[in-house]
């Protein structure tokens, strides 16, 4: 079947052969039923007249910025006008200079999706920040990141992501960068990514990851999925010290984690849900053979003293 065949099917874009093949699958019945059932769906009522009236009230306060012409009754003398224009230009230039960079950030338990001026997409995971210049974007596709983000880069010139740990550069591809305290990971999902770490350049083809923990390059398994797990609301780890798992847990749920009698350098492999805290706690504690207490917005992981 062709890529995204479900979307094509809905749009009647599948060939006859493909339709026959699709109808023969055991999943077809449910797909058909979903489509049938959603036909009867509707959104909550929207009162357009009320919205229009409210809007009229708001409109009388707001004024189009270059709307109607104003005829001055007391025109300024020519030189004064010029002086005013110059002053305005200077202050606009100053203001412009200061506000050049776009900044987007997420807090704990948040996520954001950003479309860059060239239609590249960035998805920010919790507690992450990006900064870039909209004006200079056309000349230089470059942004700085702290935290974790997934990039879908539109084809074009070199696109670089600067982090405190290293620089990641690509031409057009899909990749994930995580730069946290003591932790730096780049995974490439499509195309080719170049990572500069400590003045050394590493080429990362699709399906490969590069991981640095506490300044040490750590061999890691390759991503087996086509997108980072956190995009589907899961946090996944492969042989990662527990302390990073706890940190990610804090970021996803906006809770405070403390530990007692726990070796935080113990390696953890597994994943937890970013939507169900109880389940997530189980997913961390059971395989690590530790216990937890969860009260209010505090979680204590503990083990019996040996």
């Amino acid at each position: 079947m062709q890529e995204n065949y479900l979307a094509k099917w809905l749009n009647n874009e599948l060939s006859e052969e493909e339709v026959i093949k699709f109808k023969a699958t055991k999943e077809y019945a449910t797909y058909q039923k979903i489509v049938e059932t959603t036909k009867g769906l509707s959104a909550p009522k929207f009162d357009m007249d009320k919205a229009w009236n409210d809007l009229k009230k708001a409109k009388t306060v707001a004024v189009p910025e270059e709307g109607s012409k104003v005829i001055s009754l007391n025109p300024l003398k020519k030189y004064l006008r010029i002086a005013a224009v110059v002053a305005l230009m200077v202050s606009v230039a100053l203001f412009y200079n200061n506000s050049l960079d776009e900044r987007i950030s997420t807090q704990y338990a948040e996520r954001a999706e950003v479309v860059l001026p060239d239609a590249s997409e960035v998805v920010l995971n919790a507690e992450s920040k990006i900064r870039y210049s909209k004006e200079k974007w056309a000349e230089k596709r470059s942004l700085s990141l702290s935290g974790e983000a997934y990039f879908k880069v539109a084809k074009g010139k070199r696109f670089s992501v600067n982090t405190p740990d290293g620089t990641v550069a690509v031409l057009g591809t899909q990749f994930n960068v995580e730069s946290r305290k003591g932790y730096f990971e780049v995974s490439c999902y499509e195309g080719l990514v170049s990572v500069t770490y400590r003045d050394k350049e590493i080429k990362l083809p699709a399906g490969n990851s590069f991981l640095v923990i506490d300044g040490e390059i750590t061999p890691t398994q390759h991503p087996s999925t086509t997108e980072p797990a956190w995009l589907s609301n899961e946090s996944t780890f492969k042989s990662i010290p527990l302390r990073f798992v706890f940190e990610e847990f804090q970021r996803q749920y906006n809770v405070k984690v403390s530990t007692k009698n726990i070796d935080e350098s113990q390696l953890f492999s597994g994943s937890f849900s970013n939507q169900d805290i109880e389940l997530a706690l189980q997913s961390i504690s059971v395989p690590s053979q530790i216990k937890f207490k969860f009260e209010g917005n505090k979680v204590l992981f503990y083990a019996k003293a040996p």
């Binding site: 890529e3 979307a7 959104a43 919205a51 709307g67 997420t106």
Partner: protein
Amino acid sequence: MKATKNDHVCEDEVYASIFKTHSKTVYNYIYYKFGNEEKAYDAVQEAFVKLWENCSKVAPEKAKSFVYNVANNLYLNVIKAEKVRLKYAEYAAPIEHEAPDFILEEQEFKEKLDRALQNLPELQRTTFLLNRIDGKKYAEIAEMEGVSIKAIEKRMHLALKTLRENIDGI
């Protein structure tokens, strides 16, 4: 280029027609994302006030993506999705002919579908519902979201796939 008078967004008629065509979709768009009626209503207000303030700078053909952009940016980073509540139309069909277990089965399926929709990632849900409920073409959704048509097809595909997996309990 000289713009004729009536293709200017500052003209009341043009502005009103943009409002009529797009306000409901802006509302639904934000609602599908966050499941909050009040926030969706406010987003419509905000988007169209901004459009009015900038009416001289926004070309009429750009007005559509302008309002979606404003509405979308309004809640960037700010709120978490709540439960998206959708209604099923009551069919006038004579249901007394249907067997009770068939009706029950239907009901169960709707509940499963509701839950599955709820659990969809925001982008997939928004795209899926804009297409299914509002009948928006992939190209239109792509324009609203500022991404490629292929990206929208991918979201549609994943949305359907995830819904089915959830419903069939895989």
